[in-house]
Amino acid sequence: MPMPYYVSPEQMMQDKAEYAKKGIAKGRSIIAMEYVDGILLAAENPSASLHKISEIYDNIAFAGAGKYSEFENLRKAGIRHADLKGFMYSREDVTARSLANGYSQSLGTIFSQEMKPLEVEILVVQIGHNGHTNEMYRISFDGSIIDEKQFAVIGGKSDAVQAVLKEKVPARPPDLRTALNLCIAALEQTGNQKLSLESLEVAVLDRTRDNRKFRRYSPAETKQFLA
């Protein structure tokens, strides 16, 4: 019987991480940014129907970069988790923290146990109200979880976008129009091309709305808003 080749655990993890990173870097970046009344999410997305940004619960949103089928599965699992919790207890007991923890556990387990890691990077954001602060969690393919402030970037050349934003984002949360313009500028600068508003997916978690705070902006609405 032939013996399988020996691969050291370090080597295996490194290979998996490299594989996942390559997959994620192929796509385009998604930005989440705090503004005065909530959190803005913006992504370059050529498809109008296959969304990268989605509502999870009353004041929680999700964004996924990387392989569509994989983050779509994670998105659905998150919605189930949130709706189940909200039904079992109460709507206010659904939190981004517990959701981010679930994602982190799942991604971590898959990364260490499965042959192929998930080629995804996800964002879970929650707006706070009544004096509570916003929460933004960035979760990587290996389950590592990072708590972000002001803005967060995933997918594509996320490091480059982050560097651009770091210089430009003001200390106090800007208004929505400024925030959106900042996002577009950062995406354009790193993509080295003019962004058409048609291929920009925009959504907000707006604190001033009742009940469900998530709102998607259609390209026409975005155009009108920026005009």
Binding site: S49, K76, A77, I79, R80, L84, S106, T109
Partner: protein
């Protein structure tokens, strides 16, 4: 794909997710479907349980949509269990539901139905059609059938605004989940027949909103007059029936002051007749 710490399932329905993964939380399904069914002890026959029952609710169409209303009383046998129960629920942006039957399971079903529709909308990115929502509710009523034999009846009356047809629609159900559409008005619960009698006499096609609201409140008043289970306007405590308006702009709660004003006028004209 395995997701160890998040529920994994492939269906856009929250109800079926709950039935499969958490049967203990699902109304009607109190046992895991995978487990062999437990035999009830033959010596002790099942006794219907006594629980508070919600009574009369109704829906009536008007020119732009539907008015849905209900009284505020819940009874337990010959006792009044609750004077302020709310029986008309907003389900989503374009639908509302009113309930009659065992109060607890009724409210639970309304909550589950709310979650169901929101869940579908979030997963699929679009809302269910009006017809689809009505059918889904029928399946939930059907799943509750085992509870009916223990006396826990849940009877919904569903009202939705159909965006494709641009009209309000009324659906009624039977205990086995049968779904029937009503063209003009309907009423269910202990005083349902009395309320229907009033509406039959006064209903007109394409009424104005104010007229339809007045008719709905009159029908509830007459039902309370003839049926002990139905609560009329309680002037001492200031408890009035509740109503919602379902039309193309969404669901509008009718303000209590507006309902009180209609009843004040109605009661004054009744009192004048008695003199």
């Amino acid at each position: 794909m395995k997701l160890p710490f998040l529920p994994n399932h492939d269906d856009a329905s929250f109800f079926s997710f709950l039935t499969r993964q958490h049967p203990e939380l699902t109304p009607g399904v109190r046992r895991s479907p995978d487990l062999p069914s437990v035999q009830h002890e033959p010596a002790r026959p099942l006794q219907p349980v006594t629980v508070p029952h919600a009574t009369t609710v109704l829906a009536v169409k008007y020119q732009e949509g539907v008015v849905i209303a209900g009284d505020r009383r819940a009874t337990e046998g010959f006792q009044i269990a609750e004077r302020r129960i709310e029986k008309v629920f907003k389900i989503d942006d374009y639908s509302a539901m009113a309930i009659a039957g065992a109060a607890g399971p009724c409210i639970e079903m309304a909550r589950l139905f709310q979650t169901e529709l929101e869940h579908y909308e979030k997963l699929e990115g679009v809302q269910l059609s009006c017809e689809g929502k009505a059918n889904k509710l029928g399946q939930m009523v059907k799943a509750n059938l085992p509870m009916v034999f223990q006396g826990l009846v849940v009877m919904p009356l569903y009202v939705g605004y159909d965006l494709t047809r641009s009209e309000g629609r009324i659906f009624k159900y039977d205990l086995a989940g049968g779904r029937y559409e009503e063209s003009d008005y309907h009423s269910i619960g202990s005083g349902g027949k009395d309320a229907r009698n009033t509406m039959r006499e006064h209903f007109k096609k394409a009424m104005a909103e104010a007229e339809a609201l007045k008719l709905a409140l009159l029908a509830l008043y007459n039902a309370a007059d003839d049926d002990v289970g139905t609560g009329g306007p309680d002037l001492v405590r200031g408890i009035y029936p509740t109503a919602k308006i379902v039309n193309g702009t969404g669901i509008i709660d009718v303000a209590e002051s507006r309902i009180r004003a209609i009843y004040d006028e109605m009661l004054a004209s009744r009192a004048a007749k008695e003199r």
